[in-house]
């Protein structure tokens, strides 16, 4: 059941110049969370920030949830100023869970802050599946949580755009058809910038057997199916709600071009 909760900030750390980790005590939401879901955070109770901001749930325990976010605009900038002990009004859990998968070989492909939703996905799927993580970022400093991820995934393929760690280049380029075939990888979960998902879509022509799930983003009004403001066009031309039908979609079913923010 979706609820609003006044969540106390337990910890708030700056991980890189732009990326922050926010740990919130939100038991009413935490007890319900499924991987793939997100929350909407109210940045402030004044009207300078009318709209809540959506963030994936990156970690979840009995009482707490963690958000990993990048400062990109005025809302995330303001959020980054919030201090432990302060409270934030959050709405959640929102969106649908990822499908229930067992005994599969699954690839995860994270670009930059796309690691946030995939972290929780990985910790869930790792229990009953074999995971291969493809993880790319701009620089070494932005490759986060490597130890935790190593513990969850059988194999890690890392890349940075500047070559400061792992392979040099965009992570999508390192998805290898031969390897996927050989390892019998059947499912992919990908999260990252729209550009990455577009590259992925092209690349996937070579992976006809793979079921590619992707995390989509769109500007949101309500986050819970009331306003019809979020959406992604399906190949049939209708819109699906990212907030209630997603945020995870089969990449073959959706038109990424409809998502320009």
């Amino acid at each position: 059941m979706i609820v609003t909760e006044s969540a106390q900030i337990i910890a708030h750390h700056q991980l890189t110049e732009e990326i922050f980790s926010l740990l919130l005590e939100a038991p009413k939401i935490a007890t319900q969370v499924k991987p793939g879901q997100f929350v909407m955070i109210r940045i402030s109770d004044n009207y300078s920030f009318m709209l809540r901001r959506p963030f994936a749930i990156a970690d979840c325990t009995q009482n707490n949830i963690r958000i990993i976010y990048r400062v990109v605009g005025k809302g995330t900038k303001e959020l980054s100023k919030r201090k432990p002990k302060e409270n934030l009004d959050i709405l959640g859990p929102l969106g649908r869970s990822i499908p229930n998968l067992k005994n599969k070989k699954i690839a995860l492909c994270a670009g930059g802050i796309g690691i946030a939703p995939l972290k929780l996905v990985a910790s869930k799927l790792a229990q009953t599946n074999e995971l291969y993580l493809y993880y790319g970022a701009k620089t070494k400093k932005e490759l986060l949580f490597l130890n935790e991820l190593k513990a969850l995934c059988g194999k890690l393929i890392l890349a940075t755009e500047d070559g400061s760690w792992g392979k040099k280049g965009l992570i999508v380029n390192f998805l290898d058809v031969a390897f996927f075939k050989e390892q019998k990888i059947e499912v992919l979960f990908a999260a990252g910038p729209l550009k990455m998902l577009k590259n992925l879509k092209i690349k996937l022509k070579d992976f006809p057997q793979l079921i590619p799930y992707v995390f989509l983003e769109s500007r949101m009004g309500c986050g819970c199916g009331l306003c019809y403001c979020c959406g992604v066009k399906t190949i049939n031309g209708e819109y699906l709600r990212i907030c209630t039908d997603g945020p995870v979609f089969n990449l073959h079913q959706v038109e990424l071009t409809s998502l320009e923010l």
Binding site: Y47, L51, D89, L91, R219, G221, C227
Partner: protein, 278 residues
């Protein structure tokens, strides 16, 4: 807190405004406590709505260009109405025709169903290629309302606009043509530009402005009508708390509608109700 207008009694004066609470199938617990809910605008044919982005934040406001995405009246009757008929409050279906004929079809499709009434959407700014809103012309308002009134005995609400027209004139036309209440103000016209791309930000190019930003203007419109015309008004525009509700009632509204506030907090209706009861 009961309010009675004509044949309908509302358990409290708070409605959930059209387009901000979906079709009425979510947060049923909230809906049932409210005076009523007005559905998203329903059109004759299914509409997929405008390209993204459909919503942006403005100072104390929201600009949206959803563009009336909805399943169309047939699917609505088939799939949604059965769910709504289980609700324990007043249900109004917001109908959005682009021609009189369409309004007539919508009325005929919905006029005999189990709903409490129809809100006639004469003022949606998010339809392309439309020169003027019907609610900008008292004549057009009369024509559409009369055509609908002839075909149903249901409670009728005219959703008017305050864009480029004196709503006193259109309220008079609507009441004289047989509606039971008028509802206003709908969103104001709005646009926003991305100074980097130099293009409008919204997928629909222009949008509708709502939220606290428009509250003083919304209050004015209601007060202004009420000075001249003692008619039942459903007031809205920027309601975010119980004090806002009280202001609208002081201005002359009999019922109020929460719009953008529902997006900020889907439980706002409940919270306001509690504040009002205290």
């Amino acid at each position: 807190m009961k309010v009675t207008i004509k044949n309908l009694t509302f358990k409290n004066p708070i409605l959930l405004a059209s387009g901000t609470y979906g079709l009425g199938t979510k947060f049923i617990g909230v809906i049932n406590k409210m005076g009523g809910i007005i559905t998203k605008g329903i059109t004759v044919n299914e509409r997929f709505g405008n390209p993204l982005p459909r919503i942006i934040e403005t100072p104390s406001g929201i600009l949206n260009s959803v563009g009336l995405e909805n399943p169309g009246v047939k699917k609505f009757k088939e799939k949604i109405l059965p769910i709504l008929s289980k609700l324990n409050t007043h249900i109004f279906v917001n109908i959005a025709g682009t021609t009189i004929e369409e309004f007539i079809i919508l009325t005929e499709e919905l006029g005999e169903t189990e709903i409490s009434g129809l809100e006639i959407n004469l003022s949606c700014p998010n339809i392309k290629n439309r020169q003027r809103l019907p609610a900008q012309s008292p004549k057009l308002v009369s024509k559409i309302v009369s055509a609908i009134r002839k075909r149903t005995n249901k409670f009728l609400i005219a959703k008017l606009t305050a864009n480029f027209v004196d709503p006193l004139d259109t309220a008079r036309a609507a009441i004289d043509s047989g509606v039971d209440a008028v509802s206003l103000i709908n969103t104001l016209y709005g646009i926003a530009f991305d100074i980097n791309t130099k293009k409008p930000i919204l997928g629909g190019i222009t949008g509708g402005l709502s939220g606290p930003a428009i509250k003083p203007f919304a209050l004015y419109c209601i007060w202004h009508i009420k000075q001249k015309l003692d008619i039942p008004i459903i007031g809205g525009g920027g309601i975010m708390n119980a004090n806002d509700v009280k202001e609208f009632i002081l201005a002359g509204a009999k019922l109020v509608a929460i719009g953008s506030g529902n997006l900020v907090d889907p439980f706002l209706g409940l919270k306001i109700l509690k504040e009002l009861e205290d």
